[in-house]
């Protein structure tokens, strides 16, 4: 199972980085989303994988590590805020600048 998680993190990173290197704003936003997925899953995996052990007192004696979960939970919410701001910035660039390029060139 560890291998599956690791490959998933790798794949999410791959799509994230590849899309972030595109020339237009929308793929870049998607790339950022994928990179957030990858980072969140990576942070979460730092607590090691422990199925059937939700960190609820009284239900288990060997719980999953609650700390990475708490970190990732807030990270998920914050990444929404970040995405929202970047989306708005891309809209602003498109409406003010006329195109959605992010490489500083003018659209052909």
């Amino acid at each position: 199972m560890e291998m599956l998680f690791a490959t998933a993190i790798g794949a999410l990173t791959f799509t994230g980085v590849y899309l972030m290197l595109r020339l237009r704003s929308f793929p870049m936003i998607l790339g950022l989303t994928f990179l957030s997925y990858a980072v969140n899953l990576f942070l979460f995996a730092a607590g090691r994988l422990t199925p059937d052990a939700a960190p609820i007192v009284g239900t288990t004696d060997a719980p999953a590590d609650p700390l990475p979960q708490a970190l990732v939970l807030t990270a998920i919410v914050i990444s929404f805020g970040m995405t929202a701001v970047i989306v708005m910035m891309s809209l602003g660039a498109r409406l003010e600048g006329g195109d959605d390029r992010v490489d500083g060139q003018d659209a052909p």
């Binding site: 994928f34 997925y37 979460f44 998920i76």
Partner: protein, 928 residues
């Protein structure tokens, strides 16, 4: 008064003059004066202890393991400097009140001045090198503001920039040097460092540390070859020149050398570098000073020369020379600050500082002449003034160091006599060389401050033992670490060599002044390097290089910058990987299971398909949503129900948001990048994937190197925080402060979004483009009745679910974050189903208000703990038993969670509603 408070007072009071300025210039000056006076009196309250040789300390440890502490130490040396800074500061405030014109904002000026004063006081009272470095940089920054005070004049701006570049650059060297020194000595406390001279001098790093520290000290104290910035800093208003460039800031370098004197003095490197620099500076600057035509420039070069003299004395490394240095610091501060102020008075009265135009002012301005005569004769080293005392001491020490040094020192003294007398003669004696506009003596407001200083010059010259004696003894003892009782007297007897050197210098100096016309012509005919031109060339070169580098790395395009960043990270990761040994992980692996493996397969497919098919934006967005939901499944499988819930809810709102945004963006991404570029990006992405994936695998197949701290959270979840859901107790209790910060960030993000939209909607270009956008064919019925009715029924159900999730959050999966997201989704669905206009009309609360309420509730909950004498955000809980209900628990953490709830709700609603508003804009503008 604690030394810490003495240093803090000017900072604390810095806002007062700016505020008091509304009540007038006197109020501003009084406010600044009161602050300085309070600090000065606080300092004086320690006078008996410090003058008897005791050091007063105050210490507040912050991170002791890193040597970070706020430690202050007031000994004789610090007392002398702090006395100069605060005492002359008081006089400067008085002088500035009457010097600055009505049009100039005095309050702002005094605020900058007080901040500078605080930074200076901080330098001399710090016992911790890190704190000293911070104060040191602060003096560079505040002096930048003060030198560049007249922002509309280019020479003022350029002077300020040059001063900042030189002293700030020196400051960087100093940081490196002091950190090395702290490492060698094994302590960041200066009082400890100075006791470890043997270890320091034995270390191979001693010389680099010394050179770096000296670069810092020499740049600050304008020593050759860094002296050129000081004359250009004279573009500052005269009170600043008098304060920073004669009495205080330029002496910071001297202070540092005196402070570290016990650690370095006596080593050959110290002696050679410091005395040679000092001697060169004395001579070069004294010669240049003689030929200056601007009163302030003459004084500036003379200051450089006198600073060189003190440097020279400190470099000699004998206690007697150090004592002479202390004496001259005092003497120079008194007569030079007075001379600067008098030059300012002349400038005001005659509207020029040019010695070629001035002359004969003695008759028109007798009082100014009298004060200037005493001060400049002291600068020339004429008895019975204090300048004579320190010059004699300097010549005595120079005579002991050999004939060459004695000759150079005498030559410098000669020029010193010449320029001092030239200052006096060319400005005040003879006939006016140009038509002057009836110069007169100023009112007492302007002459009071220099008069006080001149009185000190006289008194300390006539009765040195009664005035400067104790101060010099205390400072010299603190500098050298040995008890010193200096014998200060005007008359050392006929066998003292200094007397004859002094007489020779005086006679030759007079002759030099007599030969002024011929020498001036010679000076004008000799070519000289122009420091400013050289500096400008160097600076232009640096700027051009920096610009080229920036353009290469950040050419305005995001993809290139990101590619460089990714490649750099990869290189760092590869280097780290290659430079360490590796062994396979030993942790037992989980067996492969069918259901999670199926989820994995779909997730991989969706992820890679997104990369392959990203040109079709709607499809890519759908695939992104699928990936996010599968991620939630992964969280659920690995015992993170809270995460799964949050991920699902966030996914919904995020996809909704991007879907809305897609309305305003092209539907497809054109194929633009050339194949080699795509290949490069694929390679970067693949390498990054390999890196993160294998790192994650390595992490998961090993046990933690240390016991995770979360075992504490787990054990304390119930007894400490009163909840059984450890994730929730961490969020709202153990790490509540992090969460507090996070909800504030989230709220700010939503507000930024709102502000961006506002500015877009008020921009003509943007609204025109918005109106011209082709949003594609709309569905025939945008708000089908079926959906609208169904979702209206769903609203109360969804709200109940949110309430349920919120209430159980402390003990079971749920909590403020999820509840807030679910509520937001429920409300957003109403917008979707019934349309923006109808839903918005039924909105009772502003999303801004939700954000504010959330932050306020969280703050109030946290602050309530302060009322019980507990730290911010300490939570409490109790069990309540109501008849008819089971026993339940009430925790303040639930209130905090309520703040989280409102903040999340407000931020999500505001973000999405704001983008919908843009959509509304296009619809309104559509014809028909």
């Amino acid at each position: 008064m604690s030394p810490a408070l003495i240093a803090a007072l000017p900072f604390l009071g810095a806002l007062l003059p700016a505020l008091a300025a509304r009540a007038g210039r006197n109020a501003a000056a009084l406010a600044a004066g009161a602050v300085s006076l309070a600090a000065f009196l606080g300092l004086m309250s320690h006078a008996p202890a410090v003058l008897s040789g005791t050091a007063v300390t105050a210490r507040l440890d912050w991170v002791p393991a890193l040597g970070l502490s706020a430690s202050f130490r007031l000994d004789g040396l610090a007392f002398l400097f702090a006395g100069l800074i605060l005492g002359i500061g008081l006089l400067i405030i008085l002088y500035a009140r009457f010097y600055l014109s009505e049009k100039e904002p005095l309050g702002r000026f005094l605020t900058s001045l007080l901040m500078f004063q605080g930074a200076m006081t901080g330098i001399v009272l710090s016992d911790n090198i890190l704190m000293l470095l911070i104060f040191w940089e602060l003096t560079s920054l505040t002096s930048f503001l003060l030198i560049g005070w007249s922002q509309d004049r280019p020479e003022s701006r350029q002077g300020a920039r040059m001063a900042l570049a030189v002293t700030g650059g020196g400051g960087l060297a100093l940081i490196a040097g002091m950190l090395i020194l702290g490492q060698i000595a094994g302590s960041n406390d200066i009082s400890v460092i100075v006791t470890r001279a043997a270890e320091i001098q034995a270390s191979p790093l001693c010389l680099p540390a010394l050179i770096l520290i000296l670069i810092g000290a020499f740049t600050k104290s304008a020593q050759f070859p860094f002296h050129f910035w000081l004359p250009h800093a004279m573009a500052a208003p005269t009170p600043v020149s008098a304060y920073l460039h004669s009495a205080t800031m330029v002496k910071a370098g001297l202070y540092l050398m005196a402070r570290l004197w016990p650690a370095f003095s006596g080593t050959p490197e110290w002696t050679v570098i410091v005395t040679a620099t000092g001697l060169a500076t004395i001579l070069i600057a004294a010669k240049i000073a003689f030929f200056q035509t601007d009163l302030k420039a003459l004084l500036a070069y003379s200051t450089v020369s006198h600073l060189g003299l003190i440097t020279f004395l400190l470099g000699l490394g004998t206690p007697a020379a150090a004592t002479a240095a202390m004496l001259h610091i005092l003497a120079h501060a008194s007569f030079k600050a007075a001379l600067f102020m008098l030059a300012g008075i002349v400038d005001h009265a005659a509207h020029t500082r040019d010695l070629r135009r001035l002359g004969g002012l003695a008759r028109a301005m007798p009082l100014t002449f009298a004060l200037a005569a005493i001060a400049s004769l002291s600068m020339a080293g004429i008895p019975p003034l204090n300048g004579f005392l320190s010059k004699e001491a300097m010549l005595t020490e120079a005579a002991l160091s050999g004939p060459l040094v004695a000759a150079v020192a005498t030559l410098a003294a000669l020029f010193s006599v010449a320029y001092s007398l030239r200052f006096l003669a060319h400005a005040f004696l003879g006939q006016p060389r140009a038509q002057l506009d009836h110069p007169r003596d100023p009112g007492p407001g302007l002459w009071a401050a220099p008069a006080v200083l001149v009185a000190i010059v006289l008194a300390s010259g006539l009765a040195p033992m009664a005035t400067f004696g104790p101060l010099v003894d205390a400072a010299a003892s603190a500098t050298t670490g040995t008890a010193i009782h200096a014998h200060l007297t005007l008359w050392h007897g006929l066998q003292a060599p200094a007397l004859y050197l002094s007489l020779a210098a005086f006679g030759a100096g007079l002759m030099t002044l007599g030969a002024w016309p011929r020498l001036a012509a010679l000076w004008a005919a000799t070519p000289r390097p122009d420091a400013k031109a050289l500096f400008d060339i160097a600076l232009a070169g640096l700027t051009a290089t920096a610009r080229r580098l920036t353009r290469a790395l950040q050419g305005g395009g995001l993809p290139r910058a990101l590619a460089i960043a990714t490649a750099t990270l990869l290189a760092a990761g590869t280097w780290a990987f290659l430079s360490a040994p590796h062994a396979p992980g030993t942790r037992a692996l989980l067996p492969l299971q069918a259901a999670p493996a199926a989820v994995w397969a779909v997730l991989m497919a969706a992820t890679l398909a997104t990369a392959a098919l990203h040109r079709d934006r709607l499809l890519a967005l759908l695939l992104t949503g699928i990936t996010g939901l599968l991620l939630a499944a992964a969280f659920a499988w690995t015992s993170a129900p809270d995460l799964a819930l949050t991920q699902v809810a966030v996914e919904v709102v995020a996809i909704l948001l991007m879907l809305l945004a897609l309305n305003f963006l092209p539907r497809r991404t054109p194929a633009e990048s050339a194949p080699p570029r795509r290949l490069r990006d694929l390679a970067l992405a693949a390498a990054a994937a390999l890196g993160t994936g294998s790192l994650a695998y390595a992490l998961m197949t090993r046990d933690a190197a240390f016991a995770p701290i979360s075992s504490f959270h787990w054990a304390q979840s119930k007894p400490g925080a009163g909840g059984t859901n450890a994730v929730n107790t961490i969020i709202v209790d153990f790490r509540g402060f992090d969460t507090y910060g996070e909800i504030i960030v989230l709220g700010i993000a939503a507000l930024i979004l709102f502000a961006l939209a506002e500015s877009l909607l008020s921009s003509r270009t943007a609204t025109a483009r918005l109106a011209a956008l082709d949003t594609g064919p709309n569905s025939g019925d945008p708000h089908p009745t079926m959906t609208a009715v169904a979702l209206r029924f769903l609203l109360p159900v969804a709200l109940t679910v949110a309430l349920y999730l919120f209430l159980r959050g402390h003990n079971l999966p749920g909590g403020g974050f999820v509840a807030g997201l679910v509520t937001a989704i429920a409300l957003l669905l109403q917008y979707l189903a019934s349309g923006y206009v109808r839903s918005d009309a039924r909105r009772r609360f502003d999303s801004h208000a939700f954000i504010a309420a959330g932050v306020l509730i969280a703050t109030a909950t946290g602050a309530a703990a302060l009322g019980f004498g507990l730290p911010f955000l300490t939570s409490g809980y109790t069990y309540v038993h109501l008849p008819g209900l089971e026993q339940f628990e009430l925790a303040t953490a639930a209130l905090f969670d309520l703040g989280v709830f409102f903040c999340v709700l407000g931020a999500v609603l505001l973000s999405i509603a704001t983008i919908s508003r843009l959509a509304q804009q296009t619809r309104e503008r559509e014809p028909g």
